[in-house]
């Protein structure tokens, strides 16, 4: 009787009693009978570890759950099968995840920063632990669906839907805060500062919004997606990263003139049999593009591949229930015995390498004091740098001391554009920094 009951139980220890942890406890309680039916196991939260025991919680903890402020209680509790890490951060959370795996517990986590930081170490730990499992023993599971684009099942899709396919490009609108801001700037003509204030009021922006607006949050996600899509490990800071603070109302005006809009995208693309290029940057997109229609805090990931051609997943990138829902899906998969022993690399080690340069059409916006010779200077430097000009856009000048114009280039290398821009910035008519961004649907990107 006792052994039967043991077999029919999935015992969880949750680390983190915040927004996501509360959502998980709620969904588990609400669906208790259903989940038992689905998995054949009763799923119980035996322990919940929180930072501050005195803090009020906005969810009910089941009477049988032991709440403590020491996560080590979970590690030493032999009855716990699976640790759900939803505390965030990278120091204590790393300890929780690595130690849990080493003690033979499955891990479900929503922690993007941790995975981006410690992907290889986590992978090595999973492999090590599983190599030492007795024959026939179920491998430990590491699942992290909620870590990238909260409510979009992009991790399990990349793990399972492309096994016989070859991914050639991955393009994501993977930061809700900036997509909300850019939507406001585009649709409602807000300035950068106004849209940031709106994002703060709605809780989309952190007190320090640098990680979001600077593109760094998107880059962490891109790094993880690149591992899954292309099997390559790249240091985050090797990936070119440009955020949105340089974008102005004029950029949206020029984008509208071109029939498009501007989105912050993370892009990784196979540019040859051996190389993958990647960047995070605002990019210009035509309005007819599905990605241009992704508005507000919504996220989207588009995968281009040989068999499936183009697949796009759109949904909520954050929030209590979308994120908790993804953790629940992982918990159910673990409980019902799904096996996924290679969480980062279902195809095994790749041979592709990362290169930090790529070809694209570019949008280059220059701010200037009006004087003779500007177009000539610009044309000369384009020629010198072998940059073909596709078109020049110039709205009627309102202020001769502070005007701007835009050059749309033919397909050129990022490195060429950077050199050109540095030279323009050295000219006396050029005011401030030149802004440039790739055009997304350039076939040569």
């Amino acid at each position: 009787m006792s052994s039967m009951q043991l077999q029919a139980t999935e015992t969880l220890g949750i680390v983190g009693g915040g927004t996501v942890g509360g959502g998980i406890v709620e969904i588990l309680e609400k669906n208790r009978d259903l989940f038992t039916k689905m998995t054949g196991k009763e799923i119980n939260v035996a322990r919940l570890a929180v930072r501050d025991l005195g803090k009020a919680r906005d969810f009910d903890t089941p009477a049988t759950t032991v709440v403590s402020d020491n996560f080590e209680d979970i590690l030493v509790d032999g009855s716990i099968d699976t640790v759900v890490e939803v505390m965030g951060g990278t120091s204590l959370a790393k300890d929780v995840v690595i130690k849990s795996l080493k003690s033979g517990k499955n891990v479900v986590t929503a922690n993007k920063a941790l995975i981006a930081d410690c992907l290889v170490e986590i992978e090595n730990t999973v492999n090590e632990v599983n190599a030492n499992r007795a024959e026939g023993e179920k491998p430990v599971e590491f699942r992290y669906e909620a870590a990238v684009c909260g409510g979009i099942p992009i991790i399990s899709s990349l793990q399972g839907d492309f096994v016989g396919d070859e991914i050639t490009m991955c393009t994501g609108i993977i930061n809700g805060c900036t997509n909300y801001m850019l939507t406001e700037m585009d649709k409602n003509g807000l300035s950068y500062d106004e849209s940031l204030q709106g994002a703060s009021e709605l809780g989309y922006a952190e007190a320090d919004p640098t990680l979001d607006v600077g593109g760094f949050d998107a880059r962490s996600k891109l790094k993880i997606l690149m591992r899954l899509a292309f099997g390559i490990d790249v240091e985050e800071d090797e990936i070119s990263c440009k955020g949105i603070p340089e974008l102005t109302k004029e950029d949206f005006e020029y984008a509208a003139m071109l029939g498009g809009t501007i989105k912050l995208t993370g892009v990784a693309k196979k540019i040859s049999d051996s190389d993958v290029a990647a960047f995070v940057s605002p990019t210009y997109l035509d309005n007819s593009d599905t990605l241009a229609s992704i508005s507000g805090a919504t996220n989207a990931v588009e995968i281009q591949s040989k068999n499936l051609v183009r697949s796009t997943y759109t949904g909520q990138g954050a929030g209590r229930y979308p994120t908790a829902n993804s953790c629940i899906n992982d918990i159910i998969k673990v409980a019902r015995g799904d096996i996924n022993p290679l969480p980062f690399n279902s195809k095994g080690p790749g041979t592709l390498k990362f290169v930090n340069d790529f070809k694209s059409k570019f949008y280059i916006r220059m701010r200037y004091r009006d004087q003779n010779g500007i177009t000539k200077d610009c044309g000369n430097l384009c020629e010198e740098n072998n940059i073909g000009i596709y078109s020049i856009l110039q709205n009627p000048i309102k202020n001769r001391n502070d005007a701007c114009f835009v050059v749309m280039t033919d397909s050129v290398k990022l490195s060429q554009v950077k050199k050109f821009v540095a030279q323009i910035e050295g000219l006396d008519w050029c005011k401030g920094e030149v802004f440039f961004m790739p055009v997304l649907r350039d076939e040569d990107l």
Copy 2:
């Protein structure tokens, strides 16, 4: 040695040597080593059954594969673990699927028509076979990812991503042929006949295009999606189905005036705690809608749910490699031992019931001979049927004997609209049939 080898092999019998079957054989051969590494098993196509042995094939069959024109050979071959049914049709294919399951073989199929026709019978067979499995024996698997929207993993998503969630609405652009045609009519001003000819030339339309243009193909898919999303079985012909042949250039002109376009959608929505309404129909959508941006033969399925809010999956709905890719994903899941014993109903039997009526704003287009009193007649009948008018659209009249105008209604029931339309059609100024369609983003839909 021999028993080890047996354990490490997944032996397939493929029924159908056409477009999809060829794609599967190709992908399996190309990824032989990778798949062995991923699943721990060598995946072999032991047998291939085709209708006509003499027909030339556009793919290479492995030397070890026995090709025959009798699928019974596969059933009686005890070495075959999994039958891949990609022959299409509903009579012979049904035999293959049911007999394969009964003989304890897993089934992977791409056959939408068969599942829409025989869902309950297949489910009962799976349940029966698995109830009689010895304890500890792996249940037989029935997988059909490719059957709905070829390259979009919507089946596994509905099976796995919403386990603790509650789906409230499912909206799909789930027929590539008609979406291609409607895109051409919208973007390039083609007539219905011109766009159908284009679709035929590109191979999107069958010789008899009725199943596509009449909405019946979409309805088969919607029926399957409804089972997964809401747990209800509904006879296909109970679902209101309107195709696209009635659409005219004027409809696209009026849609453009309203800032939107027209898509053939399959919609199922929970309209109360107990009821689900559903229909297949052209629908009006605003251009800002992500679904409005789905162009050409692309498919998309949007799921609205309590936790994930709104998730959309976009991709290829048909074609050799997208469809074969989905079959391959199923084959890999079967080979590596994933378990999915309730292929249609991960949450168990539902309590929802289908009702064939729903509320929505409607677009109603009337063709008429100009005379006095038309607006008055229309207004009177609207009042009589308790239909609020939201707006009336009338382009400048070019031909007084054949003009048309559009009434956009407030939120009303389909049954009210049908009554109103029948009355209008009885008036002497009304030419031909009145066309009506729902407005997609009506909150009351």
